[in-house]
Amino acid sequence: MYGFVKTPVLMSFEINWQDLGDDEAVNNSIKSFLNSHLQSILLPSYVSSLQVTDFCLGGTPPKITLREISDPLDEFYNHIANEELPKGERSENDNSTCQPTDGGERDLQSEVQDESDLQFLVEIDYKGDMRIGVSAELALNYPSPSFMSLPVKLSITDLGIHALCLVAYISNQLFISFLCDVADPILDARESLIDLGSSAILGKKSLERISLIRSIKIDSEIGEQNNVEGSVLRSVGKLEQFLLEVFRTILKKEAAWPSWINLDFNDDPSGDETSDAD
């Protein structure tokens, strides 16, 4: 069991977690973020619904250590340049309103570039007590398809991540992107990730990279009378596996390079819009 951090650990940021871990608004906004992504997932035949019922950040903060400070990567500027035209809309979904420009991307990019833009490479070490509660409807397809439907409660705990993450600040927008696990062999060969334009290297070999989630525990709870039924347990095991994949995918698709979480503080002071880079 992990308590509050008392041991002297190397970290750069002083984190005020007491206020954050219990904050209902924060927990709820993460919950609805997760739910909106669960909705877009194609469910397997043995699951009929999937929903995050509660989310709690817990009492243990991540340890965050600053590793490098540099200029932001070009990709972030490209993203901003593309967004500039139809404000807030992704250009590839919206080709009709996308104005053709003679100047092209580069000009727009240098227009938004500013000396005060900043990018941090940070090491995030998380082994906290975050809890995610998920409810699902398990469809029993044995002995016949949709033979029975069972409500299942799952609880996800013991999430462990020790990864490198880029945090870039450009003209009132924040970009957060997980790069790789700190033990990823990709780090062995190079002094600085940022210098080598990590984009190309990390982006192409994403499949060979070590998973960003080091540990995760999923417990399930179903109606007691079914505990002895082997086929039910098998399906729950499959459901646990499936959920695990779902969470790995959300992290990879939404927050891991070449995708990122983009917080735009320009239009909305609360700024909880998120989008990925595709």
Partner: protein, 258 residues
């Protein structure tokens, strides 16, 4: 306009100055006087702690105007230097693009000194909630070298416009003479930026931080006093007046005052 041209030529003739052939002058005498003035300023500020204190309380008063991502700023060091600027190679020329209707002095300026300001603050992360995280920052910024070519002239206001709109007193100040000065864009300003960033784990002297600070200072400087911008300062009247008259203290005066 022809009148102005001939006026300037008369001045040059009668002051025995030929802009084509006159050799550059040293400004040694001026350096001494400037040095004295600076020395006096430093003596007044000799108790550096006093400046640090007054600067700190000034910052404290202004803390509401700081950007939301900065914690309170504390000044930890202030070095007002111990050297003096050296001016040299002074020559008079026609102002470029003035059609020979304005004269200006070009002066080389060189300063090797250490003018330093040390501060301590925290970068605040206000997402998802205010003060979610803080990154301690210690910075010492010093200017160690400044070299430039300075242009100085005396002029009236009519040919120039202020760069900011809120210059309300501008029209009322139209009369009289102005001292105008500017630095050529090929100036050299060398910095020494020391940074220490982080709480228990610290990053030291990151080049990006140095260049960030440098560019902010240079931007401030360029926007104010690098060509084509220049500082335009109204000169006081030099007509002798009784309220400006003084004489040296004598022993007797001191006693009679008491």
């Amino acid at each position: 306009t022809d009148r102005k041209f001939s006026q300037i030529n008369t001045i040059l003739e009668k002051t025995y100055y030929n802009v084509e052939t006159h050799s550059p002058e040293s400004l040694d005498w001026f350096n001494v006087l400037i040095g004295q003035t600076i020395q006096q300023f430093r003596e007044e500020a000799l108790q550096k702690d006093n400046i640090v204190h007054s600067l700190n309380s000034f910052i404290a008063r202004k803390s509401g105007e700081l950007p939301h991502y900065l914690d309170t700023i504390k000044i930890t060091e202030l070095d007002i230097g111990e050297d003096f600027p050296i001016l040299s190679n002074c020559r008079i020329q026609y102002s470029p693009n003035s059609n020979k209707q304005r004269l200006e002095a070009k002066i080389d300026i060189d300063l090797s000194d250490r003018l330093a300001l040390g501060i301590e603050t925290k970068l605040l992360v206000n997402y998802p909630k205010p003060f979610t995280a803080a990154l301690p920052i210690q910075l010492t910024v010093s200017i160690v070298r400044f070299q430039a070519c300075l242009t100085v002239s005396l002029t009236t206001a009519e040919e120039f416009v202020p760069t900011s709109d809120n210059e309300t007193s501008y029209s009322s100040e139209n009369g009289g003479y102005f001292l105008m000065f500017s630095f050529s864009p090929e100036y050299r300003m060398e910095f020494d930026v020391k940074s220490l960033i982080g709480a228990r784990s610290k990053l030291q002297d990151i080049p990006k931080i140095g260049s960030l600070i440098e560019s902010q200072i240079k931007r401030w400087f360029v926007e104010r006093c690098v060509e084509p911008r220049f500082q335009f300062i109204k000169l006081p009247s030099l007509w002798p007046r009784s309220k400006n008259t003084r004489e040296e203290k004598t022993e007797n005066d001191d006693i009679s005052m008491k």
